[in-house]
């Protein structure tokens, strides 16, 4: 296991370098000198003086060849120096740190909603396959996959906040509310629509996946054995079948973590939710290259880590995989 861990992490390193290189080159393809700007935006630096700029260029190695600059950029990245945002005049790291909790709150809630809704439906569809409800859920899943997220979000706002007035349409909380219970309820109300939209979009994919992998297991001989020795249905499905079906399902659910960040981008923008996704969108609209690129870099790292997590979970959950001696 430990050797597998190190091998997998070892494989990740070149991938990380390649991706960061691609992102760095994109950054350099931008008009102007975004790298210089990302430093100059520091409010303490006086920009107008050409001598100072020349010194800065030298200090940050901006006149060196691209590949050399890439390594300097990477070095400052590891030191946590992400430069400045031209829009906010603040360090990028500080901005990301202030927005990240909101995104985590939204995505984790959406993720949980997705799981809670997807599992019962997926299991039901597999166990009662070709029943009326199975067909119904199949069509519903197709509908979910085909819904544009932003339109789904807009329609949810129109129905639930404009016409019914149940939930607020935007923001994280209302100002001027006192009492910790009231604040909690208020935050929950603000969280409801965006997290439901984000979670339900994912449910459509997961239901299909859970159904397929459970169906595959239900065809196996040991399930027939379990039934024929008289084990109750519930026990066979939950203990014998689901446990084995979980292996691919867990992998897919871990692999989908980055999709939440992508989906959060649109959902956060529509619901004025001050998270990472909206930060990146604002950065793109304001041509704040440095901020946008660093947000992208952050999301990419999250993606790579969740790929890694998926691999480990796969090995942990499946006792049939014997590492080292045989191929994984």
């Amino acid at each position: 296991m430990i050797s597998y861990f190190f091998r997998r992490v070892g494989e990740l390193i070149p991938v990380f370098f390649l991706i960061s290189m691609i992102i760095f080159f994109i950054l350099n393809a931008m008009p102007g000198d975004p790298l210089l700007y990302s430093r100059v935006e520091n409010p303490r630096v006086i920009v107008q003086d050409p001598e100072r700029i020349a010194k800065l260029r030298e200090y940050y190695h901006l006149d060196d060849p691209l590949i050399v600059r890439y390594f300097f950029w990477l070095k400052s990245l590891f030191k946590g120096d992400l430069g400045y945002s031209s829009m906010y005049k603040l360090p990028v790291l500080k901005l990301i740190k202030s927005r990240l909790p909101n995104t985590l709150m939204l995505t984790v809630t959406a993720w949980l909603i997705g799981l809670i809704v997807a599992f019962p439906i997926g299991i039901y569809s597999a166990v009662k396959k070709y029943s009326f409800l199975d067909y119904f859920f199949t069509v519903l899943a197709f509908i979910g996959i085909s819904l544009p997220t932003f339109w789904f979000a807009l329609m949810a706002i129109i129905v639930f906040s404009v016409f019914l007035g149940w939930f607020p349409a935007a923001g994280v909380q209302t100002y001027g509310i006192s009492g910790s219970w009231n604040i909690f309820v208020d935050k929950l109300k603000h969280l409801a629509l965006p997290s439901l939209v984000l979670g339900l979009v994912q449910v459509a994919y997961w239901v299909r996946y859970i159904r397929t992998s459970l169906l595959e297991v239900l065809d196996q001989d040991y399930i027939r054995t379990a039934y024929s020795k008289g084990a109750p249905d519930k026990r066979v499905i939950l203990r014998h079948a689901l446990r084995n079906a979980m292996i691919p399902i867990i992998t897919i659910i871990a692999l989908d973590i980055p999709y939440f960040f992508g989906g959060a981008l649109i959902v956060e923008t529509i619901f004025s939710w001050p998270g990472m996704g909206r930060l990146m969108y604002e950065a793109v609209l304001a041509s704040d290259y440095n901020l946008a690129i660093n947000c992208l870099m952050f999301i990419t790292i999250v993606t790579l880590l969740s790929n890694l997590l998926a691999d480990f979970l796969y090995v942990l959950v499946d006792p049939r995989i014997r590492l080292g001696s045989k191929a994984v």
Binding site: V15, L147, W151, L154, I157, I266
Partner: protein
């Protein structure tokens, strides 16, 4: 994956008791038409494509014709079947013209990306070795970059617009096809008829395109439909965010750009111009749903390895 020719089938039918089943494409057609959802998708898609292509000639109002005497008119009122927007432009006319743009972007970018994926998959699978390893490693890397944020960044680099939207979507859509095609090529190239072609001295390029490619076409068509639905969704999202197709050219996505301002600016619920938000989004949804149904039916019909569940 080896398909019998007409002659071979005739031979089998004459010499055995097997009930005649028809050629591969006859089978495909029969299977596809028995798939109810796919048939529904095909009909809806045909109607929408016809409307979008022919429609603008039939509607008398131009998509950019403003009428300041009829601002924000609700649907089903005189002269405007789906109402008008805040500049008095006919929503139905804009929907038809916007559909042209949305479908154009979707079809072009998915054709290009499927083409790239097909070529990469063919070469990678057939030649193997270092070429294969490098290409597949590159595919892995591209796949582990989250696509939608990257699309956003790329539109920042290239700038928005019709051509750039198509290229950006094409650049980020080919990896799945390449992987799939490669996996099929790997199994096809082990067949005896490839060996036969090689023994008779057929050129490598000819083997690749004449003997291997026909076998990967079915799976390529299926991935093309998947790409199409992704491209239409991505274009509409980009345009909604103001980074895709730019107004005044309408697309289904950018018709929704001002949706949030309508929702938030109107005081009373009954004054919300819901038709401006509902119809363009519903068209996107309908097209993507039909394409997904179509893709599902095609996969069942084209790929002999998938036995239809229904």
């Amino acid at each position: 994956m080896i398909f019998a020719t007409k002659k071979q089938i005739d031979h089998i039918e004459e010499n055995t008791d097997i009930v005649p089943i028809g050629s591969y494409w006859q089978l495909v057609r029969r299977k596809f038409l028995s798939h109810k959802l796919a048939f529904f998708g095909l009909i809806v898609l045909t109607v929408i494509v016809l409307l979008v292509v022919v429609g603008p000639f039939l509607v008398r109002v131009a998509y950019d014709e403003m009428d300041f005497t009829a601002l924000l008119v609700p649907p089903l009122s005189s002269g405007h079947i789906l109402g008008t927007d805040e500049l008095g432009r006919d929503v139905f006319a804009r929907l038809l013209y916007g559909g042209r743009i949305s479908l154009l972007v979707g079809v072009c970018s998915s054709l290009i990306s499927t083409g790239i994926g097909l070529l990469v998959g063919l070469f990678s699978g057939y030649f193997g070795g270092i070429v294969d390893r490098l290409l597949m490693r590159f595919v892995d890397v591209m796949l582990s970059i989250p696509s939608f944020p990257v699309l956003l960044i790329l539109t920042l680099v290239f700038g928005p617009g019709l051509f750039n939207t198509i290229s950006v979507l094409a650049i980020f859509g080919w990896m799945g096809v390449a992987r799939l095609v490669r996996s099929v090529v790997l199994s096809v190239r082990e067949n005896d008829f490839i060996m036969a072609a090689r023994v008779t001295g057929t050129k490598k390029i000819q083997i690749l395109f004449r003997h291997i490619m026909p076998n990967v076409i079915p799976i390529t068509i299926v991935s093309a439909t998947l790409n199409l639905s992704y491209a239409i969704l991505a274009e509409s999202s980009l345009s909604y965010l103001g980074l895709g197709i730019q107004p005044p050219t309408p697309s289904w996505g950018n018709m929704l750009q001002k949706a949030m301002t309508y929702i938030l600016s109107k005081g009373h619920a009954s004054q919300t111009p819901w038709w401006l938000i509902f119809f363009p989004g519903f068209m996107i949804f309908l097209v993507v749903l039909s394409v997904n149904f179509l893709g599902d039916g095609l996969r069942d019909a084209l790929d002999p390895r998938f036995v239809s569940e229904s």
